[in-house]
Symmetry: C2
Subunit: 336 residues, 2 copies
DNA sequence: TTGAAAGCGCTACCAC
DNA sequence: GTGGTAGCGCTTTCAA
């Protein structure tokens, strides 16, 4: 029964005995069409199994009912959560979501931004570390409502959601010190950029000379293992290591396990983000929670109400507060 | 510097002193344009920071340079790997990827298939469990090269990649029996559908009465915990539990840990898929490897060479062989 | 409430 | 090699 050529609005119109315009209205703005007519149109749509052509619809409408999400690394569940939270909100409002992954590659980010802009989405949510000025500029010129997470400063059509990293770090270090820790290590990825840079700097500010900044590793489980190896090679060894995120922390814990280093007995490990997996590994990971669901919600709100803004020149910054979640991977250092 | 209205081909054409057609060619088929002309066009493109409009391009071209990927649950790293492997291959060939998540909801799957078809992608890769006949039919009628994973039978424009679940299951059960296990439990999700159904059935065939089929849980870490609780409630308890996938197995192991049940001493746990995380949890998970990278590769191959098929009526089926990966979560049952 | 028709920005065919 | 131009399938004034 497969038809050789895809059906168009015109086919439906003919079948229903109305004009294409009416079919379009029946489909998009039913209130503009008399009930009886709408009925006939809908029947024809069913009968013919008509499926509107998105490309044409978006082009003619000038807009596209979708929002773009750009993240650095979907394999890190943190980014996946961001995607899901945006998706959830977007769907509620009848939008589709287009995701793109950059793999922390600035060139790929630039390409992806171009591609997104070329699709003219209703909005763009950018959660990456590798943002550079030129790209911000491009986003500004793109004139599409954009929400960026924790990078750079807001611009005309750009809102910034920022996590109070400093506060988060302060809470962890205070906690760790209260446990009696004196030597700290840090394992992060891309610590020159964005939020990881801020986490590192906040840590340095808190701990001063007591912090040994470890190797800059990949944002992967394997990266975490590499980071842990670097920490283990230190003399004296830190008694607590802070990881740039949970993804890395979980990798680090595996390495410690394999090397026979007891966590938290010989070494405490804390992460950042509070991804779901943090509760499921052993020992369960102590971490700093970042509320992803509200990030998605706020991002979509900001995208769907650009008119809500008194003046688009208002540079908006939304601050999110993280909170400490204590589990099993941290404890007092064991004297030996 | 932001321009109020987006630039069009015509603007570039004017700036470069050529026709729109030439600009289009310079951009898409450079070999058709004299080097000098191309040069001028490119300069104009740079100068004006022109970005082609995808919607228009796709519409005019009749095709869209993208492939759709539909999966059941991106939070399960198995599906994410599938996505990544398709994405990798797609990018290599200059295609973009559109992902959609169904959350195992058949209605959502139907909606997503419609949406995909409406975008007229170059191909569609469907990796879900909840496929139903009506949807297969829709896909067939969609007349877009489609590759489905482990569900239903191939059709005209539809290829099927099937994992030899039976073989995988046979290998695990043989291994477990050789260890001395006599009582087995099974924890799966959506075991009425697709590959999970086949895994369960293969298991039942292998083990007969020795298998206790546990509750059908969610495909989530929490689902795994629930499944483990169900197993623990059994009397006599199984000494080995087979999980429908690693995602669930990892959740199950957490529950066992919390309940103080030693793995593998008191209970062996094995998964299916061999997701990366399986190596990073403790104890590292014994599982059955499914080669995702080759699945993505084969899917894209099939999509990009529909002409390669002698007749599109050839129902194609590709069989993938899984293999056992023994790690730490399985061992001989401890006598007590 | 409905229809006619002018585009949306680009591609691709047909001339030159 | 390059330009002119007719659509791609839909939305959206403008009239009726």
């Amino acid at each position: 029964m497969a038809q050789s050529e895809a059906l168009t609005l015109a086919d439906v119109a003919k079948a229903a005995g109305v004009s294409p315009a009416t079919v379009s209205r029946a489909l998009n703005e039913p209130s503009l069409v008399k009930a009886a007519t709408r009925q006939r149109v809908m029947e024809a749509v069913e009968e013919l199994r008509y499926r509107p052509n998105r490309m044409a619809r978006d082009l003619a409408g000038g807009r596209s009912r979708s929002v773009g999400v750009i993240v650095s690394n979907l394999a890190n569940p943190f980014f996946l959560d961001i995607f899901h939270s945006v998706e959830y909100e977007a769907k509620r409002h009848g939008y589709e979501v287009l995701v793109e992954n950059t793999g922390y590659d600035p060139r790929r980010l630039a390409a992806v931004i171009d591609a997104m802009l070329g699709r003219a989405p209703a909005g763009i949510v950018v959660v990456v570390s590798e943002m550079e000025d030129a790209m911000m500029q491009e986003l500004v010129e793109g004139e599409i409502p954009t929400v960026i997470y924790d990078v750079g400063s807001p611009g005309p059509n750009i809102a910034n959601i920022r996590v109070d990293e400093e506060q988060g770090i302060k809470t962890v270090t205070r906690y760790l010190k209260s446990l009696g820790h004196k030597r700290f290590g840090f394992v992060g990825h891309h610590t020159q950029y964005g939020s990881l840079r801020r986490r590192r700097e906040a840590l340095e500010a808190q701990l001063g000379k007591k912090l040994t900044v470890g190797a800059d590793v990949e944002d992967s489980l394997e990266g975490g293992r590499a980071g842990a190896r670097a920490m283990l090679a230190l003399d004296p060894r830190p008694t607590a290591i802070l990881c740039g995120n949970d993804h890395i922390a979980i990798g680090a814990m595996r390495e410690l396990r394999v090397r026979g280093v007891d966590v938290p007995g010989e070494m405490s490990v804390v992460g950042f983000d509070n991804i779901l997996w943090a509760e499921y590994v052993h020992p369960a990971l102590t971490t700093v929670n970042i509320p992803r669901p509200s990030i998605g919600r706020m991002a979509m709100e900001r995208i769907l109400t650009p008119e809500g803004t008194p003046s688009s020149a208002t540079a908006e910054e939304i601050l999110v507060q993280p909170d400490l979640v204590i589990r099993e991977s941290s404890g007092p250092p064991k004297k030996k």
